[in-house]
C-alpha cells in the first residue's frame, strides 16, 4: 500500500490551503474542503473528521498500534483468547487516545481510566448508568430525545455529564477517531493475514 505517495500528493496539491491550526498538524485539506462545503464554512478551529482522515495520522497510529500490541503479546500472554482480544482492544484505544493529544475529553478519559483496568470489561463504564446520580425523573418519563442524549453520553468515554453542544463536539471527534481506528486495524489485520503464512488460515474471517 503506497500510503506515502498519496500523502505527499495531497499536501502539495493543497499548499495554498495549508493551515497549521492549534492541533499542531495539517489536515488533509481535500477532505476538509469537501466537508466544508456541506457544513458551515465559518469555524476553522472545530475538529471535524479532518485530522483523523489523513494518511499520516493513520500511519502513525498503525505503527504505534503494532508496537503496543506486540508488547501486549509479549508481556503477559494471557491464555484465554478473550483476554488477549480485550488487551489488544485496550491497547488500541490507548494509542488512539494518545493520538488525540489530550485535546478532547474522550481521549483524556481513556488515558486516565484505562491504566490498571486491563482485564475489566469496557462495559463497566457504561453500566454505572445515569440512574444513580441523575435527576429522579429518568428513563421512561423523559422525552426520547433526552434519553438518546444520555445514551450518547454514555457511549463516548468521559462525556456523561457534558453539556449538549460539547457532547456533540466530542462525539463528532470520537466517531472520526473510531473510524480511523477501524481503518488502521483492518489494514493491519489484512497485512498480518497476508504475511502470516499458513497459520492465518486457522482464523475465521471476521465479517
Amino acid at each position: 500500500m503506497f500510503l506515502c505517495v498519496e500523502t505527499t500528493r495531497s499536501y502539495s496539491m493543497e499548499k495554498s490551503y495549508m493551515v497549521t491550526d492549534s492541533e499542531g498538524g495539517y489536515r488533509s485539506m481535500e477532505s476538509n474542503r469537501r466537508k466544508r462545503k456541506k457544513m458551515e464554512s465559518g469555524s476553522q478551529k472545530v475538529k471535524r473528521g479532518g485530522r483523523w482522515r489523513t494518511e499520516a495520522e493513520q500511519q502513525i497510529y498503525s505503527a504505534k498500534l503494532v508496537e503496543a500490541i506486540t508488547k501486549v503479546r509479549r508481556s503477559s500472554a494471557p491464555a484465554a483468547a478473550v483476554h488477549r482480544g480485550r488487551a489488544v482492544r485496550e491497547a488500541a484505544d490507548r494509542v488512539l487516545a494518545a493520538a488525540g493529544k489530550g485535546r478532547t475529553r474522550w481521549s483524556r478519559a481513556i488515558m486516565t481510566s484505562r491504566v490498571g483496568l486491563r482485564l475489566r470489561k469496557r462495559r463497566k463504564v457504561t453500566v454505572t448508568g445515569n440512574n444513580r446520580l441523575r435527576k429522579p425523573a429518568v428513563s421512561k418519563q423523559e422525552p426520547p430525545l433526552k434519553r438518546r442524549v444520555r445514551v450518547l453520553g454514555r457511549l463516548v468515554p468521559g462525556c456523561r455529564k457534558l453539556s449538549f453542544p460539547n457532547l456533540l463536539e466530542e462525539a463528532t471527534d470520537y466517531i472520526a477517531a473510531l473510524e480511523m481506528q477501524v481503518r488502521a486495524m483492518t489494514a493491519l489485520a489484512e497485512l498480518l493475514a497476508g504475511t502470516g503464512a499458513s497459520s492465518s488460515n486457522l482464523q475465521p474471517p471476521s465479517c
Binding site: V88, V149, V151
Partner: protein
C-alpha cells in the same frame, strides 16, 4: 428548550440556542454514513442521535472484532522479524 436541561456547569456558557443545537446536530448528521447516504435534510434530531449511538456501537463492535482477530493473528506470527517487516511496510 428551557434552561433546566442538564448542562452548563461552566459559568461562561450561556443558554444554548436552538440554532446552535440544530447546527451541531446537522454537523453530526454528516458523519453518520447512514444518514449521509440518504441525502435527506429532514432528519429529526432524535433520529440523528439514535443513528449516532448505533453507529458508535457498531464501531465499538468492529474494533472489538478486529482486536480479537489481531490478537489471534499476532499470536500466530511469532517471530519478531515479522513484526519488523510489518512496521516497515506500514511506514513504507
Amino acid at each position: 428548550m428551557s434552561s433546566r436541561r442538564s448542562r452548563s456547569r461552566q459559568p461562561g456558557v450561556s443558554r444554548i440556542s436552538d440554532d446552535q443545537i440544530a447546527d451541531l446536530v446537522s454537523k453530526l448528521q454528516q458523519l453518520i454514513p447512514e444518514i449521509r447516504n440518504r441525502r435527506s435534510d429532514k432528519v429529526s434530531a432524535s433520529k440523528v442521535l439514535q443513528e449516532t449511538c448505533n453507529y458508535i456501537r457498531n464501531l465499538h463492535r468492529e474494533v472489538d472484532d478486529l482486536s480479537d482477530r489481531l490478537s489471534a493473528l499476532l499470536a500466530s506470527t511469532d517471530t519478531d522479524s515479522d513484526q519488523a517487516a510489518i512496521i516497515r511496510s506500514l511506514l513504507m
